[in-house]
């Protein structure tokens, strides 16, 4: 079926007509693809199943009536449909993906292969524990690695993603406060201005009042600023380290001490742990709880937005409150799966945050990464990530503006849009022009503490040649912006499968599902 959905319906610019002027709307390898609902057929299936013999159903009065409304496709059509869709996506394997804070490092295929071993993938979370000793061993081994790398007491593996890990860690803190009988009085959580949006959202969800900690001029949080906000009503701070400006917080130990002196807890957002693995341990810095994004630091694939995995490491002060289920090791090395609050040998789990044991498929991939790298490789990966970010910084600092020049960058470098002033080019325009150069844009407009933020994280996966080309491309763009070549930016991207999309229209009149087209007759009425 010919798809006309992708053909221009409005008069485009001259070059658009030139590039899109084919009968099909395709441009060689860039192919238009209609929705499965438009090309599928309601009587088609791509799965061969035999109809069961006649039997008496036991559905009572609850048999479904009418059509469901989902068309099917044969297997070859399905393959083409999704392969064509995939070709409209940019991935790490396509090119440099410098999305700050998101850590788009190489996803080793060995890890995929390991996660698909039937002994891990074809095992049910509720089959008898006696039939899954290898699964418990894997969880225990992963826990050992995470605890050793962070210098913490224990780890709660089950959180499903980073934000879920935050929730879990903050729940452990709340449980500790309740256990001390202080829940009526301790109801404030301190969050720096530069924090991820998930931090205040998590604190608010748990009924805490959020109090913002101002950042110092150099982009870090000073212990004096924290002390000024401390009191008996403060339950915790949620601090990212290295922070979202890409800087290691120099006073982190003093901040932890100040919190502990008033009986508050230190929640560390571990989104940027990848900068310091093997270089420093959060446990040595005074952290009480920290989630680890296995999909960032330990390279489990981002998959277009999940699935993630967000285990939370806990200090001795919080270890007893870890949620069920978890695996414990006896003195003889025997492993026990604790599934219920009443079964916790020494502790008072705060509850349960997901139906089963967490993201086993991600545990396997992360452990495969850790075994492959080893202690030496993980340390080298952190150092290379930091070196690569600073190398980009050195290559661009004379053209772009660095809001916090006083500290070395860690794994990511933050620029602001001061250098674009009066050029007519915005951070957004600049990012879209990067798309035309074959790059995924950097993180934009985050963190909020600087104007027009551009946060670049190359990761350790990039070669020097790749970085050199990236720097050269950004320099060329920067000089073009300063030279007033605004058309290169304002209309960008020119060469992507789509030009800029109208997000306002999408939000104003949301179309969130496909609906069958009205018959022509009805439409005419």
């Amino acid at each position: 079926m010919l798809n006309r959905q992708g053909r221009p319906t409005a008069a485009g610019s001259a070059e658009a007509a030139e590039t899109a002027g084919t009968f099909t709307g395709n441009r060689a390898l860039i192919q238009e693809e209609a929705l499965s609902f438009e090309i599928g057929r309601y009587d088609t299936t791509g799965v061969d199943l035999d109809e069961p013999e006649d039997f008496a159903p036991r559905l009572g009065a609850l048999a479904r009536e009418g059509e469901i409304g989902i068309p099917g496709l044969s297997e070859p059509e399905t393959m083409r449909h999704f392969v064509k869709l995939s070709q409209k996506n940019y991935g790490i394997d396509t090119g440099l993906f410098p999305l700050g804070s998101c850590t788009m490092k190489h996803n080793a295929r060995l890890n995929e292969k390991m996660a698909r071993l039937p002994g891990f993938s074809d095992v049910h979370p509720l089959q008898p524990v006696s039939t899954v000793p290898g699964a418990l061993a894997l969880m225990n081994e992963l826990s050992h690695y995470l605890v050793t790398l962070t210098g913490m007491t224990t780890v709660a593996l089950s959180p499903k993603a980073g934000a879920h890990g935050e929730l879990c860690g903050m729940m452990a803190i709340k449980a500790a406060i309740v256990a001390k009988g202080e829940d009526e009085t301790r109801d404030v959580v301190l969050v720096p201005e530069s924090a991820h949006g998930t931090n205040p959202a998590t604190a608010a969800l748990l009924g805490f009042k959020v109090r913002e900690v101002p950042a110092a001029e150099d982009g870090t949080v000073r212990v004096e600023a924290v002390r000024e906000l401390l009191g008996p009503e403060v339950a915790a701070i949620m601090l990212t380290n290295p922070n979202t400006c890409g800087l290691f917080e120099p006073q982190i130990v003093e901040i932890a001490q100040a919190l502990h002196e008033v009986g508050a807890y230190f929640y560390c957002d571990g989104a940027n742990f990848n900068a310091i693995v093997g270089k420093a341990r959060p446990g040595d810095l005074g952290v009480d709880a920290m989630h680890i994004n296995l999909h960032k630091t330990f390279s489990t694939p981002h998959g277009g937005g999940g699935p993630g995995s967000g285990p939370v490491v806990l200090s001795e002060r919080l270890a007893a409150f870890a949620p069920v289920p978890f695996v414990t090791a006896g003195a003889d090395g025997s492993l026990t799966l604790v599934e219920h609050e009443g079964d916790a040998p020494d502790g008072s789990p705060f509850g349960r945050i997901t139906a089963f044991h967490g993201q086993m498929g991600m545990y396997v991939r992360a452990l495969s990464y850790m075994l492959s790298h080893g202690a030496d490789g993980m340390k080298q990966a952190s150092e290379d990530a930091v070196l690569n970010a600073n190398y980009i910084r050195a290559g661009l600092v004379d053209l772009m503006s660095l809001p916090f020049p006083d500290h070395p960058s860690m794994h990511e470098v933050l620029f602001d849009d001061e250098w674009l002033k009066d050029t007519g080019v915005s951070t957004l325009d600049f990012a879209k022009a990067m798309i035309d150069e074959g790059y995924h844009p950097m993180t934009m407009y985050f963190p909020l503490v600087v104007h027009g933020a551009m946060l670049i994280e190359p990761t350790e996966s990039e070669s020097k040649a790749s970085l050199d080309l990236f720097v050269a491309a950004l320099r060329d763009l920067a000089m073009a912006a300063k030279a007033g070549e605004t058309a290169r930016f304002s209309g960008a991207p020119y060469h992507a499968p789509r030009r800029r999309l109208d997000e306002t229209r999408a939000a104003r009149q949301p179309i969130l599902r496909w609906t069958p087209p009205q018959p022509v007759r009805e439409a005419a009425e």
């Binding site: 109809e51 069961p52 469901i68 409304g69 999704f82 891990f120 290898g134 277009g304």
Partner: protein, 447 residues
């Protein structure tokens, strides 16, 4: 190290360009006494072969679902997934892409999310669905929080037919966010009177169908009662294949429908990753959690898709967000979409009939086994057996004989005292030989 492209010479050259003498100069902000000088006490790097050996040995110690007669369900189900599904989700452009915040180079992800949302809305009989949640249980927790926002009340009532782990997830979330939960006792035969519990403080009623014991529940009267009191009905399912054959909650008055989508496209994975489904009515769309993909046009007027209504979300609203959730379950959601596209409604309905037929066959055969009583009057692909001996012991003994017979209810809720109940799931993977093995095994253990 095979994953690290920089050579020692590269590093030296780059440090010079940066203008520092050593790499540790870049770690100067780490307090000197906290910077590790010795390697951590973990093994050194390993080649692929060695890693495969280590993890392969661990994997080999587990009994796989495909290797034995397998009847374990209770929230996760063994189904056959077409080979093309796993191949497609491993396309680099899907596997290694990020959340589609740059829509011009993420139309692949966005279009399948739009297709997924349409599929889930059709399956559940609802107006709109989001781009997926972590899993069914966390989706249920988010649904309760959404009902609190919509009704501005804070008391949820949980049916005794709700999966105990789902109930615990909701209880934990509500306890931690200072909301109230009233949880009804285990309701094995779908006989509870939930309607009389609804009052003017009730934000929502949470009812699962098929419930954890496998019974199908008619939600219409509960929906009417909830609406009369200004409360919402949240319908939960843990087996999405049931929607191929059973009246969808959307047709019974549910306001929010949540469930586990693992059965379509996704492996058992010892509990995760899975894919949570979340559907609602148009009028509540701005109170929904999670990501939403919407249709729009680009500057040349061509159709395209973007993430939309993000003013609900944490990265914009921070402490005023509808949820703290940042990610969805992207690749699992893609697997679901591909498998569902292959099936189409025709294939899904047939798959559901096969599941149901296999469960009926098993129920009929088990009804004749001394010491076994089939509790259900109605069911889809899972039934509850009342045994003459503790179910946990029976399951353990049968496991030793190479039959994974199901889930003892006591495993889910040890404090319930319902030690004699066994949940037994049947899917298209079960053969007559599997059923014979289970029937014979139960005869032996219960005699």
């Amino acid at each position: 190290m095979r994953y690290l492209p920089l050579s020692p010479d590269d590093r030296a050259e780059m440090l010079a360009k940066v203008g520092v003498a050593t790499i540790d100069d870049l770690f100067a902000d780490v307090p000197a006494d906290k910077l590790l000088t010795e390697p951590l006490d973990l093994p050194r790097r390993k080649g692929e072969l060695e890693v495969e050996r280590i993890l392969g040995r661990m994997a080999a110690r587990n009994t796989t679902a495909s290797s034995v007669p397998f009847f374990v369900g209770a929230g996760a189900y063994k189904h056959h997934v077409p080979a093309s599904v796993d191949h497609l989700i491993q396309r680099s452009e899907f596997l290694t892409s990020y959340t589609p915040y740059q829509p011009e180079i993420a139309q692949g992800t966005l279009q399948y999310l739009f297709e997924f949302q349409t599929q889930v809305a059709a399956l559940t009989g609802m107006d709109v669905a989001n781009a997926s949640m972590y899993d069914g249980s966390t989706a249920a927790g988010e649904a309760v929080l959404m009902a609190h926002r919509v009704t501005k009340r804070d008391k949820a009532i949980l049916s005794g037919g709700l999966h105990p782990h789902y109930a615990e997830v909701i209880e934990t979330l509500c306890e931690m966010s200072n909301d109230r939960v009233e949880r009804l006792p285990a309701d094995v035969t779908a006989a509870e009177d939930i309607v009389s519990r609804i009052d003017k403080e009730t934000s929502c009623v949470v009812v699962q169908t098929p419930d954890v014991f496998g019974n199908l529940r008619d939600l219409r009267k509960i929906a009417d009662a909830a609406h009369a009191a200004g409360a919402l009905l949240i319908a939960v399912f843990t087996e999405v294949v049931s929607l191929g054959l059973v009246t969808p909650p959307g047709a019974m008055g549910a306001d929010i429908v949540v469930g586990e989508g693992q059965s379509i496209g996704n492996a058992l994975n010892f509990g995760g990753p899975y894919v949570g489904l979340f559907a609602a009515r148009h009028k509540h769309v701005r109170q929904m959690p999670g990501r939403l993909c919407g249709e729009t046009v680009d500057s040349e007027g061509r159709r395209g898709f973007v993430l939309t209504l993000s003013t609900r979300e944490q990265h914009i609203r921070r402490d005023k967000a509808t949820s703290n959730i940042c990610t969805n379950s992207g690749l699992c959601c893609l697997a679901f979409t591909i498998h569902m596209t292959l099936l189409g409604q025709v294939g899904l309905q047939r798959l559901a009939r096969i599941n149901h037929a296999n469960a009926v066959k098993l129920a009929d055969r088990l009804a004749g086994v001394p010491g076994v009583e089939v509790v259900n009057e109605t069911f889809f692909n899972e039934i509850t057996l009342k045994l003459s001996k503790p179910a946990a012991d029976v399951v353990e003994r049968l496991a030793n004989e190479g039959v994974l017979a199901g889930v003892p209810y006591s495993r889910l809720a040890p404090a319930s005292g319902l030690d004699d109940l066994l949940l037994v799931a049947s899917t298209e993977v079960n053969t007559d030989e599997d059923r014979t093995a289970l029937v014979d095994g139960l005869k032996g253990v219960l005699s």
